[in-house]
Amino acid sequence: MIGQQTVITEDEIIKRCQAGDREAFRTVVEKYQNILYGTAYLMTGSRTAAEDHVQDAFLSAWKNISSFRTGYPLKPWLVRILVNKVLSYQRTNPNIMISLDANLALDPAGDDPAEDIAQRDQLRRVMQRLSNEQRQVVLLRYFAGLSLAETAAALGRRQGTIKSQTSRALEQLKDLIEDDNKQ
């Protein structure tokens, strides 16, 4: 029941956005900015780049909100827009390497609690294990919380590919995450 209400509320917000209501869009931005930012950050390894991509993604979402079909969840759509921005940027700028290893442990904002830094360090170790493609899949599926189909759509790969990449990635992470959960 509660879930249904949430969907209806989001639908109404989207409808208002489609009608040009900025305040409604503000609630959308505030609701999803962190998950988008995290995804972008983990994909780029750069705070500035991540912020730029998130901003870009929200702008795209705003200008295309009229084409969004209400009744569908908004998050996968937003994540897909973001991933497309990041990937197309990386394609056109292949020299900018993902410097996840160096940056992730550090405090991106500079004023985060120490606990957050520790969390991110664990994440860094996890992401280090994975290939670029596996990293993207794991990010979208477990970090952004997208379904198999949504991940496939966002990355432009087949569902079967996503599935095998996921299971291979999980295999890689087995000991690390088991250890982590014991802690």
Binding site: I35, L59, Y142, L170, I177, D180
Partner: protein, 475 residues
């Protein structure tokens, strides 16, 4: 196996938990909205049309697209099948092609009409007086020709110059008869037949007699005016004992009208070519036109010859009289009619000619006609009785036998005893028709085109789908 799966699922949940826990530690700057807001206005306006376009593709995508595609395909197929059905139906009922707008013509003509289609030309016979759609056509004209090359649904224009076209007032029938008579004296009977023909206003076409006294036999072919045909036959029957008689009437009205129409077209073409020739300024133009003119004139002469022949055949009936003395009667010569559907009429005629000359037979007449775009031929053959069965079988093998009758006397000559001093006596009337094929090339073309359109549509849609046009556009 089950445990393994459970383990995987459990682990997946752990991974999920791990990431969700860490996801909370990522916080975008608080000033994101303040940076974003000023940029919202300008961009939304610019991209609104794109949204509409996208919406259209989204609307089209999925089941709707499949429905539209299959509807188009089904429509194409239905149209094709419908056109085939209509063509066949109309051909059966009216012996005309549906490529002309029959209804439009009939509307203006009233009840008493006949329509014949010959390679783009329509001839209308006996229209009801006063029922013509155009006043330029004289009320007394019974035949009008106009061009139907405009296709179905176009307006048709009567051509004034055709008002003088030869009228086709009645049925054109060629009457022929052959009669075998036993007479006591062949020479006397020959004279009687000749005199009778002349008295009736006719003539003797050819005459041959052979054999010694008491074994004499003669063939005489006479031509008498069509209206004296039955009189002549009656008189012939009185000259001796009728052994065998065969009367044959062939309605050639349609072929006649077809020929007339072709003639008129050719005349018109000649006139226009003459007009063009008069205006030609360069020698090369003149040569080209002159060449065309020569062809048209040759065609005109050919058509006129066919018409004259047909008119002659209609006006004068042919009677072949076979005179025998009773003693030498070899019994009734076999007689057969055969109708064969063949793939190519011309080729078959050539092979029939070869076959007949191979057995020292004669081809009395050979008429080729076109009806509704289909060729057919009528051949009157004479072969020796000895070869009759063999020839009939060979002819039957030329195609699909549609009709066959054989009339044979038990006292006929046995095979192998060919008399070289007498003309062949066994008659065969052979009709060759072009085998009808349900699927004409036009239908095959339409179906192929329909399928091609379908395939192309599917390919376009697949490509469009792959390219993401049909999906929600990636921002």
């Amino acid at each position: 196996m089950k445990d393994e799966k459970n383990n995987t699922n459990n682990f997946e949940q752990k991974v999920q938990k791990f990431f969700q826990k860490r996801a909370e530690s990522f916080k975008a700057g608080n000033d994101l909205w303040s940076k974003l807001e000023p940029q919202l206005d300008e961009k939304q306006k610019v991209t609104e049309p794109a949204g509409r376009k996208e919406r259209f593709w989204q609307w089209l995508a999925g089941p709707r697209l499949i429905a539209i595609t299959s509807s188009v395909g089904v429509l194409v197929i239905l149209a094709t099948v419908g056109s085939i059905w209509l063509t066949n139906n109309n051909t059966a009922n009216h012996n005309t092609s549906t490529s002309i707008d029959r209804a439009a013509i009939e509307k203006g003509l009233g009840a008493n009409y006949g329509i014949y289609n010959t390679q783009g030309t329509i001839v209308i016979t006996n229209p009801a007086p006063g029922a013509y759609p155009m006043t330029t056509l004289a009320a007394t004209t019974t035949t009008a020709v106009f061009n139907a090359t405009n296709g179905a649904g176009s307006s048709y224009t009567w051509s004034d110059s055709l008002a003088n076209n030869t009228a086709v007032t009645g049925k054109q029938v060629i009457s022929q008869a052959s009669i075998s008579l036993n007479v006591s004296n062949v020479s006397t009977a020959l004279n009687q037949v000749e005199t009778m023909a002349q008295n009736l206003g006719g003539s003797v076409d050819n005459m041959s007699s052979s054999g010694a006294q008491n074994q004499e036999q003669a063939n005489i072919t006479i031509r008498v005016p069509a209206n004296q045909f039955m009189t002549a036959l009656n008189q012939l029957q009185g000259m001796g004992t009728v052994e065998n008689q065969n009367i044959n009437s062939q309605d050639v009205t349609q072929q006649y009208i077809d020929l007339q129409a072709q003639l008129t077209s050719a005349q018109l073409e000649e006139q226009s070519l003459q007009a063009i020739l008069a205006k030609a300024t360069t020698v090369s133009d003149e040569i080209v036109i002159q060449q065309q003119l020569t062809q048209v004139i040759a065609q005109l002469e050919n058509l006129q010859g066919q018409i004259n022949y047909m008119q002659n055949q209609v006006a004068m009936s042919t009677i072949t009289v076979n005179l025998n003395t009773p003693q030498v009667s070899t019994g009734q010569a076999p007689f057969g009619t055969l109708s064969v559907a063949v793939g190519n009429v011309d080729n078959t005629i050539a092979s029939v000619k070869q076959l007949i000359s191979g057995v020292n037979g004669i081809i009395n007449s050979s008429t080729v006609s076109f009806d509704n775009g289909k060729e057919s031929a009528y051949l009157s053959l004479q072969v020796y009785t000895a070869n009759f069965d063999q020839v009939m079988t060979a002819l039957g093998k030329k195609g699909k036998i549609e009709q066959k009758t054989v009339q044979q006397s038990l006292t006929s000559q046995q095979p192998g005893t060919q008399q070289s001093n007498t003309p062949p006596d066994a008659s065969i009337y052979l009709t060759l028709t072009e085998a009808t094929s349900f699927w004409t090339s036009a239908h095959i073309t339409i179906i192929a085109a329909g399928t091609l359109i379908l395939v192309v549509l599917v390919i376009i849609l697949t490509v469009a789908g792959r390219a993401g046009l049909l999906r929600k556009k990636k921002a």
